[in-house]
């Protein structure tokens, strides 16, 4: 999947060579899209629209008498809502750390996998392992690893002589934050690597040969040949992983429940709690739309910064 120039600049001669059978191309295209549009439209469009509508209401199930339309008041109140603001800080930090680690680890891993070496097939298979792990199970797994009493990490570090006694890793704010980010990265890395690897696999080998002739060093070859080809897949990774990181819930919920204190209270966890525990549907929907709009704006940001040159296409 990728964002390519061709989406708007339709394939040359595409429609032209097609014999018409009474239907215009546009009609035919929408006919082909109809099944997908119907399913998405029927099942999601209404819930999405409804949630936006709710976000314009003061609507807590516990206070049905106070329900009313308040325009954008829920959104405006966020500016001075300490719970939301602290959660936003945590979320931004979480997204930045997760994205940073994902991009660095993912790129390095994809570059390694693109080389030829003994055992490459094995590593290519191993990289898919975390993908197969449901977020809930991922959270449980890291819990047992970082456990303060019986955890594998404590045992390992103690045996290596790096710590004197077992540590409660998840109890300090920084520790809990980094561990949840780490667990999230581990879980989502495979998809990143696949996309990047797919991108690397399309680089024509002549380009490397040409670079070799020019006696370009490893670094030069990376910046001159590899990186330009990776920009596109990296863009997709950034968009998808930003979406994922903003919505990360399962792993965090199982691992820390949002604590200690506010340390891992990312907006997705706060959002679920607001809707289902506090039954504040109005405010909860506003949180959701903030996530949506922020994700959208960031996606647009990525596309426009990475594709400054020339025409920008989606």
């Amino acid at each position: 999947m990728t964002l390519t120039a061709a989406d708007t600049e339709q394939p040359p001669a595409a429609a032209a060579s097609r014999p018409r059978r009474g239907l215009s191309d546009t009609a035919r295209a929408y006919l082909l899209n109809a099944p997908a549009m119907i399913v998405i439209g029927l099942l999601v469009a209404y819930p999405i629209g409804y949630s936006f509508w709710l976000s314009l209401h003061r609507y807590n199930l516990k206070l049905p008498a106070l329900e009313r339309f308040v325009w954008f008041q829920n959104y405006l109140s966020l500016v001075s809502d300490p719970v939301f603001l602290s959660s936003l800080r945590v979320t931004v930090a979480f997204v930045v750390v997760v994205l940073g680690m994902t991009v660095i680890l993912g790129t390095a891993l994809a570059l390694v996998l693109n080389e030829t070496f003994l055992g490459r097939g094995v590593l290519r298979s191993l990289v898919l392992l975390p993908w197969a792990m449901p977020g809930v199970v991922n959270g449980l797994m890291w819990r047992t690893i970082f456990d303060a009493k019986t955890g594998a990490l404590n045992g390992l570090l103690l045996q290596l002589g790096l710590i004197d006694s077992y540590q409660a890793w998840l109890t300090s704010p920084t520790g809990a934050f980094l561990i949840t980010a780490f667990a999230q990265v581990w879980n989502t890395l495979p998809f990143t690597v696949i996309i990047l690897l797919a991108g690397l696999s399309t680089i024509p080998s002549e380009q490397y040969d040409a670079a070799k002739v020019d006696r370009a060093g490893v670094v030069q070859r990376f910046t001159q040949v590899t990186l330009p080809w990776l920009l596109h897949p990296l863009l997709i990774v950034l968009i998808l992983e930003t979406m994922n990181a903003f919505r990360a819930f399962d792993t965090i919920y199982v691992l820390t429940g949002g604590g200690p204190g506010d340390a891992t209270n990312v907006i997705a966890v706060l959002n679920v709690r607001t809707v289902l525990t506090y039954t504040d549907f109005g405010l909860g929907s506003a949180y959701s739309w903030v996530i949506t709009i922020v994700t959208l704006v960031i996606s647009i940001g990525y596309i426009s910064t990475l594709y400054q040159r020339g025409r920008i296409e989606v």
């Binding site: 209404y46 629209g49 936006f52 516990k62 303060a148 009493k149 409660a168 109890t171 604590g259």
Partner: protein
Amino acid sequence: MTPETSFSRRRVLQLGALTASLPALSSVLAACGGGGDSSGAVKFSGWDYESALVQANVDRFVQLNPGVPVEYTPITSSQYVQKTVAEFTGGGGPDALYVYDDSLAGWVAAEYLQPLDGLPGVDEVYAGIYPSNAEAMTVDGKRYGLPYYTDTQCLIYNEAILAKAGISAPPKTLDELEQQSQRIKDAGILEFPIGLTAQLQDTWQAWVWGLVYASGGDMFDEAGNPVMDGTDPTAREVLAWLQRAATVSRVIDPAVLQLLPVPLDDAMKAERYAFTIGARYALRDYNDPARSQTAGNLKIAYIPSLDGSATGTVSTTRMYALSKDTEVQDKAFQLLTYLGGFTDGQPYTAKYWFQKKGLGFPFKALEQDPEVQAGIATFADPEIYSGLADAARPRTVVKQPWYSEYENEQQKTVQQILNNQTSPDDAVRSLSAAVASLKQKYS
């Protein structure tokens, strides 16, 4: 790119506004489709504590009442409240269900439940239970529940570990609790003698309330105004003690921040802690030789207080309630009566739970029941057991619509006290401020 996308976003927003008119349509559809459950079974749901035993008891009810089929659905405890809210909001709620005292007022306000006043047998039940339970199940003067079980918080200590450290009697004050723990620690028996559950949860952190109530204090007055920052210093002093015990004398395990109730139970049964604060019924499990390495050593005591003079604790009530929109009200109430009321003059199910799992009984008369008395004696000192029941108070603040938000704030604050991220003064101040802003939000 930018112009196109912002355009498309506007489009979507317009679409959203358009589709918002659909609720009417879908509620019409829902009305057509939801013409009642054709089977006529009573849909009964509860959190999944011992769901096999619940099913067995429900099966017995169905056998006795062949005309009342029951569809029992256990829901995972950690998501029970959330899932039930989703079901009622989506129009698919059960007919009869478990309710936490924590959720009751909110669910009444959300119009999920109907009052039971005037239904046959309800007055008798309310006359037979402890006043604290009756109070917990009443909202705005109306009765909404029949009791499932009640319990109070208590200090649980491992007598064998205390004896090893040369301690013969459990602590009466919090300072004694700290000193005894220090002795156990110094003797090299346990590094951290006190275990608690302090991971964030969507249920209440009972022991925090237990500690404050034990010293005769409260976080709130009767009207739901915060006093923890003003007239009542108990909460601040309890927090100060917690912080000292966790960070100075280090007798509270730092790992409690990631401890949930079930792992704590395991740790108590494996002698990894000498003290905890928990519900009385936990002792039944802790002292069951089939399930605990240290059965017989775990004892009940009053929760230590700040000055040793007060005895108090917090009680909780779990109840059965009737959905407002049930279409099988009579049958559902029949089930409710079997579960939370009297069968042939006896609170059958309450006694069943006490005998099977040691769950505290809400019916005063059971105190005199010889079988129950014998049952208590197997896992706890009967005098302290009933003394706790007499001393226990329910939380009044659960009736406030913002209670669940407050509870979450309090849990986070306790975590910050335990890992030294805030001071007791700041903690009570921020809790009080949180209440003020919640009140404003809900006004």
